[in-house]
Amino acid sequence: MEQITYRLDQFEGPLDLLLSLIQKNKFDIADIPIAIICDQYMEYINEAAARDLDVSSDFIVMASRLMLIKSRTLLPRDEETEEDPREELARAVIEYARAKEAAGLFAGMYSMHGGRMVKDTDEIPPDNTLREHSASLLAAALSRVLSEVRATEQSVTRFTPLIKKRSVSAAEKARSVMTYMKGRGAVTAEELFFREETKTDMIAVFLAILELLRSQRIIIVSGDDNDEGTLAAESLSFELSDENGENIDDVRIEE
């Protein structure tokens, strides 16, 4: 949460308090009578503390900084090499005063124009019309993937697996496909196939996609509406359908 500074009157922070003390006394920022300011500042802080208020640490830090500067001004210094101990503070106050002045201008601008409202971007529902697509597209995508896999598969199976035949469930794949597609928007067929490692898994995914399409849990969205007829296998992609796409749990596929 925002630090509680409002209890110390309406001051935004120690610099604000300091600035107001300087302005109240009509002091020159470049030549702050540090002893007077320090005393007034401490008085203010003590009063706030006496009223049983939490004085934020920023105010305490500034108090100690003022004390330090006050004590440093009492010491003799070499005018040529050493900076006036008050200079850094003066810069900070000036910088803050500018910010505060700008904030004042901003308040006016905002009260004048803040009422300009805009609307949210219209949500245009995706086109769920089912279009004719040749089944060969899906087959082409699969065969493309498979041909690429064949090249790599040999190197993967260096040892003989203990269990020769692993049964892969299409229903399981259907669920995995849908989980993957959730929140991803359009997903290409290849993307789905390449998630799998073996040919068996890919075939299961292939069956799962067919089944999900049939039950309208996913729909085909071609990348570009213009070349619907000549849709390339690479751009064949799917989206979860609006009506049945959400519920993954009741996906059932006859094995």
Binding site: M1, E2, Q3, T5, Q10, E12, G13, P14, L15, D16, S56, D58, M62, E87, A90, R91, A92, I94, E95, Y96, R98, A99, K100, E101, A102, A103, G104, L105, F106, A107, M109, Y110, M112, H113, G114, G115, R116, M117, V118, K119, D120, T121, D122, I124
Partner: protein
Amino acid sequence: MSESKNDIFSENAADGTLVREETAELLRSLEAILFAAGHPVTYEKLSAVLGISAAEVRSLVELAMPDYNSEDSVRGIMLLAFEDSCQLCTKEQYAPLIKEALGIRRGGNLSASSLEVLAIIAYNQPCTRSYVDMVRGVDSGYVVSSLAEKGLIEQRGRLDVPGRPILYGTTETFLRVFGISSTDELPTVAKADNNSADVTEEDAVSTDELL
């Protein structure tokens, strides 16, 4: 649409009453897009969609302006043109009516601390939170994140110093609700030229040193 659009525009500029059909169609398209979008749409995007150059889009927006923004305009909507995008918004004077119609009671106010932080960021952008903290002399983390949530400031990458602090800058939403079309139009604030550069030290690096 083979004719040069600039000719069409200049003809309109000469005679306000005559709007050629091609131009009228472009104006209607522009309005439809901006209305549906709600957010600012870049001239670049509009150029691609409308099939005219970005410069022509700017002229088109110029041309559309009076209809929305002139004093005798019959619209409650105004057209805002920013440096590289434009947007439709309601005219500020109807805010009370809109709020009443929509049953919105409160909100929309910016606290004094929000305005301070916003001012520091606006004049020094992109700048880090620690710079804001330093100028204000208090921790401003909460205010900064609430301004970011309101969409008045946004991240502008990170500063290449240890810790890679986030840099903040103002948004188009900021320009809209403060009634300006570019940060160049920010009011001038009395400058303490002689010393101001020295205030930025260590981790709070000012933009002047960066650019």
